[in-house]
Amino acid sequence: MQSTAAASVSASAIASGGGARSEPARRPGGLRVCGLRGESPACPSLRISQAPARLAVARAAAATNGAVAGSGGFDYDLVIIGAGVGGHGAALHAVEEGLKTAIIEGDVVGGTCVNRGCVPSKALLAVSGRMRELHDEHHMKSLGLQVSSTGYDRQAVADHANNLASKIRSNLTNSMKALGVDILTGVGTIVGKQKVRYGKVGFPEKEITARNIIIATGSTPFVPKGIEIDGKTVFTSDHALKLESVPDWIAIVGSGYIGLEFSDVYTALGSEVTFVEALDQLMPGFDPEIAKLAQRVLINPRKIDYHTGVFASKITPAKDGKPVLIELIDAKTKEHKETLEVDAALIATGRAPFTKGLGLENINVVTQRGFVPVDERMRVMDADGNVVPNLYCIGDANGKLMLAHAASAQGISVVEQISGRDHILNHLSIPAACFTHPEISMVGLTEPQAREKADKEGFEISVVKTSFKANTKALAENEGDGIAKLIYRSDTGEILGVHILGLHAADLIHEASNAIALGTRVQDIKFAVHAHPTLSEVLDELFKAAKLQPREVPDSKPSQPPQPLLKVLSFITALLSSPKRDQQR
C-alpha cells in the first residue's frame, strides 16, 4: 500500500536517480548482471572470492551475536530503528554481511505493511476477488458454472486478515531471531553521534552505541485537518483493515492505491462507494491511459460514483442520529460545493512519515514535512545540507518511494554501502502494484513523464500496447479485460516504463522491473522464451511488438545525402546500439 503522494515523490526520485541508472546498462555484456547492485567495476571478482569467508562470519555472528562486541568499541555494527519490512530487509542482509545487528521496535514487528497495510489488505482482497467471481453470473455462466447463492461472514473475513497478519509477523520475528538479530523493544531515539537510546514506559532506558544507524520508522495514515476520526464511522486504513463493519455506503477520500483497493473490497462485500478526489482525475498517480481503462473496468461498472476536484474540508462522524457528514469544497476556488451524507468515510489521503521523537534535533537534522532528508545513498542530510556520517534513513520515513519493498531495497543498499561497496538503488526499477480485480502494476515512468524526459534529454520514445484479450490464458480464465503498455527509447531500446492492467498484473510486472534493473533492452528481451499458454505472454507480445528506429541508411534519402560527419556519427550510434554487439563479444 502506498500513498497517493507517491507519484509526485517518485518524480523527484527520477531526477536524482536518472544519472546513475544508465551507467550499468552501458557496461560491457559480461558485467551486466552486476548492474542490479550498482557496484563499482572493481568489486565483482573480489566479492566472489570473499563470499564463502563472509558466509562463515555470518554463521559465527548468528551463533554468537551479543557475545562478540561490535568492532571498534561499538555495541553494534548496525542498529536499525523500526522493525517494519524495510528494517527487516536491512537486518537480514546485514547479518549476511557479518554485521552485528540490533533492531529496535517500538510497536509490533512487521510495521505498517504486515500489521496494518499490504498484508491484511491482501487477505481482504482475496475475499473480494472470490466474491466478485461468484457474483458475476454472466462470467460464471460462460464458464458453465452454476452458483445459487453467495454470502459472507464478516467476522470470519476479518479473522482471515488478522490471522494472516499474525502469521507473517511471527514469520518475520522468527527469521530475525534465527539469524541472531537482537530485537530490542522500545522507542528508539538518537541521542548523539552513533548513539541510540531506547526504552518503553515503566522500564529503565538503555543507551547503545552503533557504528551505523538506520532510521526505518515508516509512516502513519495522513489525516487532513478538519477531519474527525472516530474509528467507527470515520476511519483510516488502520481501522478499515479490521473490517469491524461493512457500511451500506462509504465515502473514500483519496483515489490512490489505498482507496482503490478498499473500493474493491467494499463493493465486493455489498457497499456502495463514493470517491472524493482532490485532483481533477481519479487515480492521479497512474499512467493516464491505464487510469482511463481502470475507470472503465474498476469504477464505472461498479456501485461507485465520485467527486473530483474537491477537498473534503470537514468530516463529522455519525452521531446523534445523524449520518457522517462530508463537506466538499472546490479544490481551486475553495467554495462550498456540496455536503455528502454517508454511513462511513475512509480517509485514504496518503501517509505521513512517522519521525517524531527520533531525536533528530540532537544531530542538527530538520525534517521536511516530516520526511527525513536523504541523498541518493539514503544518507541523512543535516540542516546545512551536509551528510551526517553513519546515519541512514530508509522507507516511508524518507518519502522517496513509499512502498514496503522499496524500503527493503533501500535497506539492502545501505548495508551494501556500510559493507564497503558503494551502491545506489535505481528507484525506477522498483515496481508498484495495486491489488484490485483485475490488478494494476507499473514500473518506471508513465508516458507523460517519459515524454517530458525525452524532450529534456533529446531522444524519442515509442509506446507499444498489447491486450489481454489476445492472450490465450486470459481468455481461458474469461478475464480478457486489460492492457499492457511498454514505453521505451526508440533509439537504444532502453525500457523506460511498463504498465499493466489485467489478471495477475502484479505478478507479471517483474519481468519488466528486472529488465530495467539489469539494463536489459527490448531488442534483447524479446528473444526470451515464455511458456505457452501463460499470462506472461502478454509481456512477451509487448516486447516483440517493440520496434527500434530503423538505422539511417544513406540510400534511403537519395535526395539529401548526409554529410560525411553525420554519416560517421550515425554509424557509431548504430554500432553502439546494435543488438549484435553483445553477441560478438
Binding site: S148, S149, D248, V273, D305, P323, K469
Partner: protein, 471 residues
C-alpha cells in the same frame, strides 16, 4: 490526455474495429419500444447511440468524425463513442447528409437515444432541422422519450403507500446512493420524485427500481430455490417464470411477501405428479347436524375438517407426503390446513390434531386462528404445519373445482357447494337430496388411485352418517 480521442487500437484483431450504428428510418423504427408515438416521416433517419458492449447503458461522444452538413456514405465512420469499455468508431448504415448533431462531442447519451439526424437529400435537411428542434424542445419538459421500461414508469406514479414515514430531517431529502443515481440515469427516473426509504430518508437503488417499475432482479428467486432444499432437485428444473416484456400503460404492482410465497409454492407444485379423484356426497344429515351445533359456535369448515381428519386416521397414506422423491413420510399428527381468503392473499391456518380434538375445541381454535390471520399475527407453526389441506368454495355456489397440491403435503380436498339434487336410491325411488362434490388432488408418488378412492369412501360415510363427528 490531449490525444484521448484516438480510438484504442490495442488489437484490431480482437476488438471489432467498427460497430455499426443502428440508423433506422424514424417512421419505421419498430417494435414495442416506440409504438404509438411514431409519425411516418420522409427519409429522415436517426442515428442512435449504439450498444457497444453488453453492459453499456450510455455512451459518451468523444468526437464527431462527420460534421453537420457532411455527406456520408454507408459504412463511413461518423462518430467516436466512448463506452464503458473502449473508444470505438461508429459507422452509419445509410447514405445521407448529417443534418443535425443532437448530442455534441463531450456529452453522453443513453443507449438507443438519437444522437444525430441523417437526411437523405438536401431538400430534407430543413425538415430534419425542424425535427431536431422538436426533439430538443421535447426533451426537457416532457417525460424523456422513452426506452421500453419507462413506458410503464411514466404513467404510474411511484407507489405512494411507502411514502408514509416521511423523512423527518428535511435536509436529507434528495440524497441518493451512488448506485441509485446510476440506475436513475439508466432508467431516466427523476430522483426528485422518488421518495427515499433508506437510512436517513436516502434514496436506495431499490427505490429507483420501484419508481422505474422494475421488478427485483431474479436473484432472490435463486436464493429462495436454494434455501428450500426439500424441493431443490425438482425446483431447479422448474423454469422460472420467464419475464415477459412490459406492457405499455400497464400498472405494475410487485408481489407482497405473502403473494411471493404463494407464487413460489405454486410454481414448485409443478414438479409434483398429481392426479384427482372426485366423489359425490349426500349432505342432508350433515346439514341437520350443522343446524344443531351451529348455536354452539361450530362452523361447517370445522365439521368438514373433523370429518377429513377422522377419515385420514383410517388412511394414513393420504396424510403422508413425499419429501425426497424416495420415501413416504408418515406424519404423526393429523393437522388440517384450511385455505382462507384474506385481503390481498390467501393463507392456510392449521387445525392441529384435528382427529383428536372434539368439534367444540376445534371451533374455538378455529376462531382464534381466523382472528390471528386477519390481524396478520399467525405464527409460522399456525400456517405451515398442515399435513392435509381443505379448501371450500361452496359458499360461493361453486359446484366443483380442482385444487393445487401445496408442496410438502400428500393431498388437498376441494369442496363444492351442497345442492339439492334428484337422487335415485338403490330401490329405484327418486328423491331430492343435498349433494356436494368433493375433489381431492393427491401426489401420485405416495397416494395411489385406490388409496384415494378408499379414503373418499370413508370420508363420505362419515359425512353421510355424521353422528361420529360429535363424539
Amino acid at each position: 490526455m490531449a490525444t484521448a480521442p484516438a480510438p484504442l487500437s490495442l488489437s484490431a484483431s480482437t476488438l471489432p474495429a467498427r460497430l455499426r450504428a443502428a440508423a433506422v428510418p424514424a417512421g419505421a423504427r419498430g417494435g414495442q419500444t416506440r409504438r404509438g408515438r411514431m409519425v411516418v416521416r420522409a427519409k429522415i433517419r436517426e442515428i442512435f447511440m449504439p450498444a457497444l458492449s453488453s453492459t453499456m447503458t450510455e455512451g459518451k461522444i468523444v468526437s464527431w468524425s462527420a460534421a453537420e452538413g457532411d455527406r456520408v456514405n454507408k459504412g463511413d465512420a461518423v462518430v467516436v463513442v466512448e463506452s464503458d469499455k473502449a473508444d470505438m468508431d461508429v459507422e452509419t448504415f445509410h447514405d445521407g447528409i448529417v443534418a443535425a448533431v443532437l448530442v455534441p462531442a463531450g456529452e453522453s447519451a443513453p443507449v438507443g437515444a438519437p444522437i444525430a439526424l441523417l437526411a437523405e437529400s438536401e431538400e430534407e435537411v430543413p425538415l430534419a432541422l425542424a425535427k431536431a428542434q422538436e426533439l430538443a424542445n421535447g426533451q426537457p419538459q416532457q417525460a424523456p422519450p422513452a426506452p421500453a421500461e419507462d413506458a410503464a414508469a411514466t404513467p404510474s406514479p411511484p407507489p405512494s403507500p411507502a411514502a408514509a414515514p416521511a423523512p423527518v430531517a428535511a435536509g436529507t431529502k434528495g440524497i441518493a446512493s451512488p448506485q441509485a443515481k446510476k440506475l436513475a440515469k439508466q432508467h431516466r427516473v427523476d430522483l426528485a420524485k422518488v421518495t427515499g426509504t433508506g437510512p436517513y430518508g436516502r434514496i436506495t437503488p431499490e427505490d429507483v427500481e420501484a419508481a422505474a417499475g422494475i421488478q427485483p432482479k431474479p436473484k432472490p428467486a435463486a436464493v429462495a430455490a436454494a434455501s428450500a432444499p426439500v424441493a431443490a432437485p425438482s425446483a431447479a428444473a422448474v423454469p422460472q417464470a420467464a419475464v415477459l416484456p412490459p406492457v405499455p400503460g400497464a400498472t405494475v404492482v410487485p408481489f407482497t411477501t405473502m403473494q411471493a410465497a404463494v407464487s413460489k409454492n405454486m410454481v414448485e407444485s409443478l414438479a409434483v405428479p398429481t392426479f384427482r379423484v372426485g366423489y359425490p356426497i349426500v349432505t342432508d344429515k350433515l346439514d341437520e347436524l350443522y343446524e344443531k351445533v351451529k348455536p354452539k359456535g361450530v362452523t361447517m369448515t370445522v365439521l368438514l375438517a373433523k370429518a377429513a381428519a377422522m377419515a385420514l386416521a383410517q388412511h394414513p397414506v393420504v396424510n403422508a407426503s413425499c419429501r425426497d422423491g424416495k420415501s413416504f413420510t408418515y406424519n404423526s399428527n393429523i393437522n388440517i390446513a384450511v385455505a382462507v381468503a384474506i385481503d390481498g392473499g390467501l393463507i392456510t391456518p392449521v387445525l392441529q390434531d384435528a382427529d383428536k380434538l372434539d368439534i367444540y375445541l376445534l371451533s374455538q381454535n378455529w376462531k382464534d386462528l381466523v382472528k390471528k390471520a386477519r390481524a396478520k399475527q399467525l405464527q409460522p407453526n399456525d400456517y405451515s404445519s398442515g399435513t392435509f389441506t381443505l379448501s371450500n368454495l361452496g359458499m360461493f355456489g361453486v359446484d366443483r373445482f380442482d385444487a393445487i397440491l401445496p408442496p410438502g403435503q400428500g393431498a388437498i380436498m376441494a369442496v363444492g357447494a351442497s345442492k339439492p339434487t334428484v337422487v335415485a336410491d338403490k330401490d329405484g325411488f327418486f328423491s331430492v337430496k343435498s349433494k356436494m362434490l368433493v375433489n381431492v388432488t393427491a401426489d401420485h408418488r405416495t397416494v395411489y388411485g385406490a388409496d384415494l378412492a378408499a379414503f373418499l369412501q370413508t370420508f363420505a360415510k362419515i359425512i353421510e352418517d355424521p353422528e361420529s363427528l360429535t363424539l
